[in-house]
Amino acid sequence: MYGCSRIKRLWSVWLSGALLLLTMLEATAAEPKRVLLLHSFGRDFAPFSDFAVRFRDELFKQSPDPIDLYESSLMSARFREPTEEGPFVEYLRTLFAERKVDLIVAFAAPAAQFIQRYRPQLFPTTPMLITAVDERRFPNNDGLTANDTIVALKVENSRYFDNIRRLLPETTTIAVVIGDSPLERYWVGEMRREFQQFTGLHFEWLNTLSFNAILKRVAALPPHSAIFYPLLAIDAAGVPHEQERALASVYAAANAPMFSIIDNNFGRGVVGGPMISTQELGRRGAEVAVRILGGVPAASIKTPPLGLGTPLYDGRELRRWNISEARLPPGSIVQFREPSVWQEYRWEIAAAAATLLMLVAIVALLLVERHRRRKAELQSRSRLLEVMHLNRTAAAGALSASISHELNQSLGAIMSNAEAAELLLSATHPDLGQVQEILADIRHADQHAADVIQNLRKLLKRQSVIEAHEFDLNDVIAGSLPILLPEAQNRGVALRTDCSRRALPVLADRTHLQQVILNLAMNGMDAMMGSASQVRTVTIQTALNEGHEVEVAVADSGTGIPAEIMKNIFETFYTTKPQGTGLGLSIARTIVEIYGGKIWAENRAEGGAVFRFTMPLATAQVI
């Protein structure tokens, strides 16, 4: 900040010089106006330096004539002891002996007083503009000559405390950070006098402390304190301090909010309030300077002193000290409002939020979609199970003659055995050994009937979910035979099995695979209804394919599948049989595919058709 403003200042000086040079080269006729800026405390002594910078900028901006600007500094105003001014006077006299100065601009009272003292020797006719000075230094324009005019400022310290109390009503202590130079002493005196009216406030005057002591003090102020920082040029130890750096140090150490009276410190840690605008003072000064350079007699120009400007606050400090903006006087301006994340990244946040919302919407949509799909899947799955069940019921219906024959066979055996036993027992010397045999046979027959019914019940079981288990596919084929064999016998079909001796573990619902085998076997039997009895054969084979899948083949000795039927044979509702539903093979395919297998049909070279399906092996078989 400091370096930056310094560079800026150097840059503007250089620029003004360059401009001047250009103007001189171009306008040979136009004599530049010579202006001498005389500083009291040094060229870079704030707040005067800030007034000077604004003034220079404004002057170059406003002046119709080229300006030949000189700057010089009294410096001695800093010192408490009077200094020999002779050499400096001589220096100025030498410098301007051949160059007529059109206007002297004195910054602060010491420079003005110096000019007034040496004017007869140095610049007897040159008008002087006095600025950056409090109005009370020249009350009622006392001490001004006919060649002098003043653009003063009006420091109203008391008004400033209204500001502090308005913002921080609980304030009890005000620490006044100020140095011990003659200027500062003047102000201490002024302020002590002025502050007597503030009876409720305790003022701590730090002008008697060294800079380090000041820093310590501001770091340990009691609660409800505020720091009033008008100026710190030279501390009590006599050490001069560069204004910006001193302010930064105090700010860093302070445990209480800081207030200042001139806006040059604004933005560097002070909370703010009504302040004197350096910009405005510079503008007014330049305005007056231009008029004087234009030939207006200085004394005729009366400028009212510049008072406190529009209240100006530093948003960062307001927030830091927890001062609500509602307490600010009406018409206040808050600067450096730390942009909230929202303010700073409004579009980014909006875009991100929009994206997020969109994503949420998409996710919600997908979830709803997924829910729907899952529901639909469940529905379709349950319908499929329903259809599969219907198909099994139909198969059981088709097998009912065989099944009832099978059952009646057992029931007949049981009945006859029981009646034989009755007869035996009614004899005088019953053959109990035979009765025992009979009872054992009854039990066997009963068991056989129970097995038949059990098989049927399994086949007819209604399922709401698929229960996959690992089992040996050979067992399913063995389990299907009691159901198929009576039917085969009934139809005069020889049913053969040729099962792999190796176990064929698959992961599936046992009933479903049994259903596939029943469907294929029944289909095979149906296919041979027209063939001669001697050649009616259905063969069920199982085999292990390359160690990773099981293949089941159901072959018949019928007439084979005509080519035009082959391509549609697994289609739902496709049937060539008068009583067919067109579901058997379609369901067989559905089931096989549910468990990750494939099914296909082909004609055998030796006649008849063969239906094959594969199933993934549940556990890898070591060959």
């Binding site: 003659a401 099978e406 009646n408 066979q409 007949g412 055996a413 009945m415 006859s416 055995n417 046979d441």
Partner: protein, 210 residues
């Protein structure tokens, strides 16, 4: 009473076969078991009185096949069908083919034994009829060819004169033959001779020849 009647049981289901055999034996019958129609046919047809209990549904030779075959063999053993799942068409076919009875498994003892008794009675009936026919056949076989010719013409109601003309002989000779025939056939009247001819099926045969 001689030996108990012999019941032939043909059924592929061993447990049923055994059970029915026990019951029949306990009821006082002799029982022979066959596991298929082929097994039954491989044995010579029994001469003893009895009947066949036949399962309709068997692998290979079904009950109906066997029944037809037995009819061809002129077997007098009546057939009682036992079926696990009897449908009407099968029933009708069986009865048309001469089945004595058609029973459904499981069959109650009383029903079974009644059917068996009926079948046995029918068997005796058939055997007696067959025996009588055989006796008549024996008598007929004792006729000389000429006497046989005269007999077959007489039972068709031909007059002696017509017969003589047909055979190219004299009426007297025909008369003598007729007496010999009556003696050999141990009959006293023309009506009796006609009855024998009819029972031996000679009338229809002769008619066919004509």
């Amino acid at each position: 009473m001689t030996a108990a009647p012999l019941i032939h049981v043909v059924d592929d289901d061993a447990s049923f076969r055994t059970a029915i055999a026990r019951l029949l034996r306990a009821a006082g019958y002799q029982v022979v078991l066959y596991e298929s129609g082929d097994a039954f046919l491989s044995q010579p047809v029994s001469a003893e009185d009895g009947c066949i209990l036949l399962d309709v549904r068997m692998p290979g030779f079904t009950g109906l096949d066997l029944q037809n075959h037995l009819n061809d063999l002129d077997c007098i053993l009546p057939v009682v069908f036992l079926t696990g799942h009897g449908d009407i068409p099968t029933n009708v076919r069986a009865v048309k083919a001469g089945a004595e009875d058609f029973l459904s498994k499981p069959v109650a003892k009383e029903k079974l034994l009644e059917a068996v008794e009926r079948a046995l009675a029918r068997c005796i009936e058939r055997r007696e009829e067959r025996d009588q026919i055989n006796r008549l056949r024996d008598l007929v076989s004792k006729l000389t060819p000429r006497e046989h010719e005269v007999f077959s013409l007489v039972v068709r109601g031909k007059l002696n004169k017509q017969i003589a003309a047909e055979l190219g002989t004299s009426e007297r000779t025909v008369k003598a033959h007729r007496r010999a025939v009556m003696d050999k056939l141990e009959v006293d009247s023309l009506a009796e001779s006609v009855s024998i001819a009819e029972r031996l099926g000679m009338l229809s045969n002769s008619a066919e020849k004509n």
